[in-house]
């Protein structure tokens, strides 16, 4: 570069700098300070994209994407590109585009060389977001109405109420309280006996006794386990694209229920679900429990048929990470897959740091279409080793067979490619034969008619069935039927077949031991509709005088047909089958059929190397020929088809000599045709039949050995779960979330905003799952204890202290009572992460025991009951509605627990279970044991807001919509169990009708019927008995139905 120019440039820059500082201070600094430095300064938490704009040096250096500002070159400055929305998805600042005037100033400033003013633009340090500061032990606040404070919880609540001049509601009456507590802890109503016992217990500990009894009941785990299953997005099938059955998912569900029942400390519960397999080994039972726990990570909905395996894997990792972070930390991290989180301090690098942990773990066996997830074998080590050794033997056997097959096929292909000319001639004859159509005969003098079932020897049923497999169960092929019949004279005979519909399948045809026709598989396409049936020509075959044998055979299936007809052939030059033509030309019928198919497809295409052959005799112009092979035929004038075929044959052989190394483009084109993957000289599907008898025999016995080996595979129970990956490594940042554009590697670690910059490295060879679990389970983790304490509060009170229970981030809702939340979180940890202890803490407070009664004044001040001036009235959840109806009718079976009623095999496709009846959804076991089939959920679950089982959700909706009313009016559960309830009431001969009404109220509503209730009910029942034309059962059913449909049954006060 010329010196002069350089000099001029730097002089200009210097000159500009003099008033540059002033320009910066006046125009640029205000823009930076107000629109950029919140996220891009030394004090930002974190520094988004690693970019700092608080000094010239840092701005020039830039962030993860490289320099932000190129002085003097606005167009090349990423900073300005982002501001102008010209940097692809990178658009800054977030939200509306910056004003044009400001953009112009920044452009001018960069043009000026990006001069700076004073060293650093100061920014007030941001206060750390509450949720990232660990909760501290807080003393309950002072309150006026001290006598109401039974638990510190009450003090926290009361302080809030008093500040607004509100009073807590009166205590709920005992009947309301026990109904509330029973549904709350077990999902079932209390029995009348339980209510009475509570009423009779006047001790101050009466309610504590109830709570202890409920916590000790196995029904408790069934209820609270189900809460966790919402968070764990539990389901019994994959449900996203390919709905494969998770046959073993239920083991995880049963693990969760058991964990709640035995009050497994939450830190341990967490650790087992994320890294149970990595905990020190104890005994087999413990290992099985822990492997099963890791099912948490495997249960997600996956795209199992994704042609891009890298995307599939990253999607699975994403789902695991998102669910884990949401479940235990109450944060959303998914958006950081593509860019820094816009609202929470989660830079993209953090996402990939954590994603690397799951990427280094093994969830899947493979990422094929359709992919296979990993399952644990639940057996002792020696058995697992035995199984692995056995599977290796199976694989070795499979390989042995594969090797022989490959070598044999190679021999067949070599023989065929040496005689392409013969194949061309034979194919031409096949084509002619296809054009000549024979008419079916139907009847002819002297014809022989054979009923399908009249065969002499065979291994298929004589009564062949339509549209069903005619292959006996567990039988081994080939399947055949052999007919013996006589004809008066030798000669050519036509065989016809009578089928009800075509396309049902064909067989091989052998006549007197000679193969005559090749069978094909029946139509596989399920969309296909069958063609009209009737008589069809099979073939014309030579028969001998007297007895002949006709054998129909297929390796794996046998079609349905009605009759065979054998009649004298009267057509001259009759068409022949591929097998007959192949025999005539001495070629292989398999390759021949492929050659025919190839020629049909190519159909005179000018690009085909076989063009000359295809148009021979049709008047097609050779000048049109576009294949490089055309050159090889220049000037060649074949005397006849044979000569042209010979020429082709010779050229193909020549092309084989040099193979891939062919330099002649024509020979190369011919060679490529021979080697084409779907070309005519690929190994035929039925290649085996052309091997020598000895090879076939040895393969048959090898097949048998393989089959026996497979059948002998030991059958152990399995559980879905995650293990350490074969390749443990950090992940590179995926720019814009795409694995096609990778950035720097992000070392595996945890969220920087919580764990800080100096995190210990994850030990060599560890995925980091165990370390992640341990980090989450530390006492002073700012989120783990808060999130679970808040979840429990939500499940007890109907609304979380942080109402957005799954999102504690900036876009979530703020805690309505943070001191209370922090107290609960600390208390929970201090109580050894015990869930049951936390239930007691919450339920034994006066807050929990308040009535849900309305208060006009409080309602005006705090209409949403944010401060909890009363207990929230809650609608029963789906399971409780169903189980409650069954329990009240006396029909619920609580003894059947665990296991799965799903009748599908593991990984089997499941389609429509809602209507088809292959899942007994109405079975009277507890709803938690009813399978959750994604994308085809039980309609009662659907109607009553069971959350979408593909997404973690700790905050179920409680909608009130018409379809729920339709269920109450018409649902089978409702009809059956109201009937049962009526019958049971009527069977109570010790009661009169008033007594029966009372009993119904006690059971359904846990309260006695008032005399007005009774009068009303009896009047109604009497009316209904008339309406039902005297049926007492139906009248009582109407009453029971109405009672169960009432708000009082569906809501807990």
């Amino acid at each position: 570069m010329p010196y002069v120019l350089l000099f001029i440039l730097s002089a200009l820059t210097l000159a500009a700098q003099e008033d540059g500082a002033a320009f910066f201070e006046k125009n640029v600094r205000p823009i930076l300070a107000t629109q950029c430095l919140g996220c891009h300064s030394a004090t930002s938490q974190p520094i988004m994209g690693g970019l700092r704009l608080d000094s010239r040096e840092m701005a020039l250096k830039g962030g993860g994407r490289g320099p932000a500002i190129v002085p003097g070159k606005p167009a090349e400055s990423l900073f300005l590109q982002a501001i102008r929305h010209e940097a692809g998805p990178l658009k800054m600042p977030p939200g509306p585009k910056m004003k044009d005037a400001n953009v112009a100033i920044l452009a001018q400033w960069i043009q000026m060389g990006a001069p700076w003013g004073s060293a650093v633009v100061s920014q007030a340090p941001q206060q750390k977001y509450w949720a990232f500061v660990p909760p501290k032990e807080t003393a309950p606040p002072a309150v006026q109405n001290k006598s109401w404070v039974r638990s510190p919880i009450d003090a926290f609540i009361l302080a809030g109420l008093e500040a607004k001049g509100l009073q807590p509601a009166k205590p709920a009456d005992k009947r309301t309280l026990i109904r509330r507590a029973s549904y709350d802890l077990t999902g079932l109503p209390p029995t009348p006996a339980e209510v009475n016992a509570f009423l009779a217990d006047s001790s101050p500990n009466a309610f504590a006794t109830v709570v202890d009894r409920l916590l000790a009941s196995p029904r408790y785990g069934e209820r609270w386990g189900r809460h966790w299953l919402d968070v764990a997005r539990y389901a019994d099938s994959n449900g996203l694209d390919e709905n494969l059955v998770y046959r073993n998912a239920y083991r995880y569900r049963d693990y969760v229920i058991a964990a709640f029942n035995k009050d497994k400390p939450f830190d341990q519960f967490l650790t087992e679900q994320l890294a149970g397999d990595l905990l020190p080994e104890k005994d087999l039972a413990t290992s099985i429990e822990r492997w099963t726990a890791t099912g948490f990570l495997t249960l997600g909905a996956k795209m199992l048929a994704e042609d891009d395996p890298v995307k599939m894997e990253m999607d699975i990792v994403d789902e695991q990470l998102d669910t884990t972070v949401r479940a235990f930390m109450g944060l959303t991290i998914g958006c950081a897959r593509c860019h820094d989180h816009k609202f929470d301090p989660i830079p993209q690098a953090d996402y990939y740091s954590m994603a690397g942990i799951f990427k280094s773990s093994k969830t899947m066996e493979n990422f094929k279409v359709v992919a296979k997830w990993h399952e644990y074998v639940l057996a002792p080590k020696e058995d697992r080793d035995k199984l692995a050794a056995h599977e290796a033997r199976v694989e070795a056997k499979r390989k042995e067979i594969g090797k022989i097959t490959k070598a044999q096929n190679e021999t067949l292909i070599q023989a065929a490619t040496a005689r392409v000319g013969a194949y061309l001639l034979a194919a031409a004859e096949v084509k002619r034969s296809e054009e000549m159509r024979l008419a079916p005969v139907e009847s002819a003098p002297g014809a022989v008619t054979l009923d399908a079932g009249s065969f002499d020897v065979g291994n298929v049923p004589r009564a062949l069935q339509k549209k069903k497999s005619n292959v006996p169960k567990d039988a081994k092929g080939p399947f055949y039927a052999e007919y013996k019949f006589e004809v008066p004279a030798a000669g050519d005979y036509q065989i016809d077949i009578l089928e009800e519909e075509k396309g049902a399948g064909t067989t091989d045809v052998h006549v007197n031991g000679t193969w005559m026709k090749r069978g094909a598989d029946p139509v596989q396409n399920r969309a296909a509709s069958p063609e009209a049936g009737g008589w069809t020509v099979v073939a014309v075959v030579p028969l001998q005088k007297g007895v002949n044998t006709l054998r129909l055979e297929h390796a794996s299936r046998f079609p349905y047909f009605e009759k065979l007809l054998i009649s004298k052939n009267t057509v001259a030059n009759y068409p022949r089958t591929v097998v007959q033509i192949a025999a005539k030309h001495g070629v292989n019928p398999g390759f021949l059929e492929q050659m025919v198919e190839h020629l049909k497809r190519s159909d005179g295409a000018v690009a085909s190397p076989l063009y000359a052959w295809e148009v021979y005799g049709t008047g097609g112009a050779l000048a049109e020929w576009k294949s490089p092979a055309a050159k090889l035929f220049e000037g060649f004038q074949p005397a006849d088809a044979q000569a042209l075929a010979d020429k082709y044959g010779d050229l193909f052989v020549a092309s084989l000599e040099k193979g891939k190394e062919n330099t002649d483009p024509g020979l190369k084109a011919l060679y490529e045709l021979l080697k084409e993957k779907f070309g005519p000289f690929r190994a035929p599907g039925d290649a085996r039949r052309y091997y020598s008898q000895a090879v076939r025999d040895s393969l048959r016995s090898l097949d048998q050995e393989l089959k026996d080996l497979e059948a002998a595979t030991p059958d152990y129970p399995h559980a879905m779960g995650v293990t350490e990956g074969e390749k443990i490594d950090d992940l590179a940042i995926h720019l814009r979330g795409s694995h096609w554009t990778l950035g720097q590697k992000a070392p595996r670690r945890f969220l920087k905003v919580i764990a800080g910059d100096n995190q210990p490295a994850i030990p060599e060879g560890h995925s980091g799952r165990l370390e992640l679990a341990q980090w989450l389970a530390t006492k002073d983790h700012p989120l783990t204890s808060r999130v679970i304490a808040n979840r429990m509060w939500r499940w007890h009170f109907g609304k979380g202290i942080v109402p957005s229970v799954d999102n504690f981030g900036r876009l979530g809702e703020k805690p309505t009572n943070q001191p209370l939340l922090d107290w609960l979180a600390v208390e929970f940890v201090n109580q050894g992460w015990s869930m049951k202890q936390m239930h007691r803490t919450m339920m034994l407070s006066n807050t929990y025991q308040m009535s849900s009664a309305y208060d006009a004044k409080a309602s005006e001040t705090d209409p949403d009951n944010v401060l909890l001036w009363r207990m929230n009235r809650r609608r029963l959840e789906a399971e409780s509605i169903r189980d409650g109806i069954m329990e009240v009718s006396g029909g619920l079976d609580v003894k059947t627990t665990g296991g799965s009623i799903l009748k599908y095999k593991d990984r089997q496709y499941v389609a429509n279970t809602a209507k088809g009846g292959d899942v007994d959804y109405e079975k009277n076991i507890r709803a938690v044991y009813i399978p959750v089939v994604r994308s085809s959920m039980y309609d009662v679950f659907n109607a009553f807001d069971l959350p979408d089982p593909a997404v973690s959700n700790g905050d179920r909706d409680a909608t009130v919509v018409a379809p729920q009313a339709l269920f109450m009016m018409n649902g089978a559960v409702m009809l059956r169990h109201s009937r049962q309830m009526a019958e049971r009431l009527l069977a109570r001969t010790d009661l009169d009708d008033a007594g029966r009404v009372k009993e119904a109220y006690e059971r359904a509503l846990s309260r006695p019927a008032t005399s007005k209730d009774i009068d009303q009910a009896l009047t109604f029942i009497a009316q209904m008995q008339t309406a039902w034309k005297g049926s007492r059962e139906s009248a009582w059913q109407s009453f029971c139905k109405s009672l169960l449909a009432s708000n009082e049954f569906i809501y807990i006060n």
């Binding site: 497809r601 005179g604 993957k677 209409p863 039902w1028 109405s1042």
Partner: protein
């Protein structure tokens, strides 16, 4: 409506409560502070989530009928005429295939069907669709559709929800969330005989949108359209007048309880939901009862022919639902169009099943004056390759396919966008699913950037961070 509870109803509502209640008559309230502005707009109506809401700007279409061809109809055999495909039949594809394909394909394969030009617009249609061909001057073809997933599951989800990665609300749910339902006795979003595979219910689910916006499935794949019913819509045991008495008794208990509890919106809402259910129970079967239609109409839809009867029934039901104000109706010709082999036979059979009913639906809507503000959408989850699979089949192709629209504010007789010479890639004026979604919302008077729902701390859109309204097809 039960007037006598209205004294309880003049209170502010939380968003949760609001969404809990289906259609109780509480007064309008200022909600903008509590909700995102969009959720507030959706909620300002003085009724539940399905109440009619004003669009962002005047709408061209009030309702949608989506004729879904599951499996992937071949564009080059139906509406995207490619003369070069015939000329170069058997030649290798002269350009690169996509990086990700579902399986290998061979050389170019010409269409087994002849194409002709129809109507004043001169649109090319193959012999597969002789009846639809007569309607081309009412259709607006989008020849440049493309998606990003080459498998049925991913592509179906992308078509229906915009995401092939996550479970997201269906477009029908978004539309219903945005506009509500014009018929308070019927669900706002109905899908007739939907597929259970390839995403199944996720294709019409509401995901994080409240449950009332989920598509109500009437029947399912494999169930003949004549037997398709809304869940729990009836029972054989209880006569209507007896059921009315049972409900009356239950409602009396409810009102008595309400006197004890004091005002409670959920309890009130539930009382109303029974009345709505009772009305729905009366109206839905009536709407599904096609015997009320004239013989001529039934014929128009091909109900007189066993081949066209099932799909014809679905189309006729769709018209009846639309006419009665159901916002979004989907009709599915389920998983039939996947011709990896036997293209000729099966595409022909498929087209025979749907061609007449589709033309019938268009004619019927037109003659009733409904086509003006009804948007009809036709298409599958992807197209097919111009290259061959076997000798008579085509593979999946998300890179290019044709959809068409009719009615509701689109330019009739237009052919928009174009593919390459063989129909493998969408080339000119490309329209992605996201753009299709943005356009449908636009036609219905909604700005896809503004129709948001706040969930897990983020304002979600049907179009996520994508989508451009295809202005070129607007009438």
């Amino acid at each position: 409506m039960n007037r006598h509870w209205n004294s309880y109803l003049n209170q502010t509502l939380s968003r949760r409560d609001l969404l809990r209640v289906s259609s109780a008559g509480f007064g309008g309230v200022a909600l903008a502070g509590l909700l995102g502005a969009e959720q507030a707009r959706a909620a300002t109506a003085n009724a539940g989530p399905l109440a009619v809401k004003a669009p962002h700007f005047p709408a061209k279409a009030k309702r949608v009928i989506f004729l879904f061809m599951h499996g992937g109809p071949s564009q080059v055999d139906t509406f995207d005429y490619k003369p070069l495909l015939k000329r170069d039949h058997g030649k290798p594809l002269p350009f690169e295939r996509p990086k990700v394909v579902s399986s290998e394909t061979f050389n170019l394969l010409q269409s087994p069907w002849a194409f002709k030009q129809y109507g004043q617009s001169g649109a090319w249609v193959s012999d597969l669709f002789p009846e639809t061909a007569k309607m081309v001057d009412d259709l607006c073809f989008i020849k440049s559709m493309h998606g990003s997933n080459s498998r049925h599951g991913g592509a179906l989800l992308e078509l229906h929800t915009g995401s092939d990665t996550f479970v997201r609300p269906s477009m029908g749910s978004w539309v219903t969330y945005g506009l509500g339902s014009e018929n308070s006795n019927m669900p706002g979003f109905i899908t007739i005989c939907p597929t259970q595979s390839h995403g199944g219910a996720n294709n019409f689910g509401s995901a994080f949108l409240p449950a009332p916006y989920a598509g109500t499935a009437i029947g399912s794949v494999g169930i003949p359209a004549r037997d398709a019913k809304i869940p729990f819509i009836s029972n054989k045991e209880t006569p209507r007048e007896i059921q009315r008495k049972e409900i009356d008794y239950s409602q009396e208990l409810n009102r008595k309880q309400l006197e004890m509890t004091g005002p409670d919106r959920a309890l009130e809402g539930r009382i109303e939901s029974f009345e709505l259910a009772f009305r729905m129970q009366a109206e839905a079967p009536e709407l599904q009862d096609l015997t009320a239609e004239t013989e001529a109409t039934r014929k128009l839809y091909g109900l007189d022919n066993p081949i066209t009867e099932d799909f014809g029934r679905q189309c006729l039901m769709a018209r009846r639902f639309s006419e009665k104000g159901v916002r979004f109706v989907q009709v599915s010709h389920t998983y039939k169009w996947d011709q990896h082999e036997r293209l000729k036979r099966d595409h022909e059979q498929n087209a025979r099943e749907v061609d007449k009913p589709i033309a019938g639906l268009l004619r019927d809507l037109k003659s009733r004056g409904l086509l003006e503000d009804t948007l009809v959408l036709w298409g599958g989850e992807f197209g097919r390759t111009p290259t061959a699979q076997g000798s008579d089949g085509r593979d999946h192709n998300p890179e290019a396919f044709t959809m068409w629209m009719a009615g509701g504010g689109v330019k009739p007789g237009l052919s928009y966008g174009a593919t390459d010479d063989y129909g493998y890639y969408s080339m000119i004026d490309k329209v992605h699913f996201h753009d299709l979604h943005a356009t449908i919302l636009h036609l219905m008077g909604m700005d896809h950037l503004k129709l948001t729902y706040r969930y897990a701390g983020r304002d979600f859109r049907l179009t996520d961070v994508h989508g451009h309204v295809v202005k070129g097809i607007m009438a």
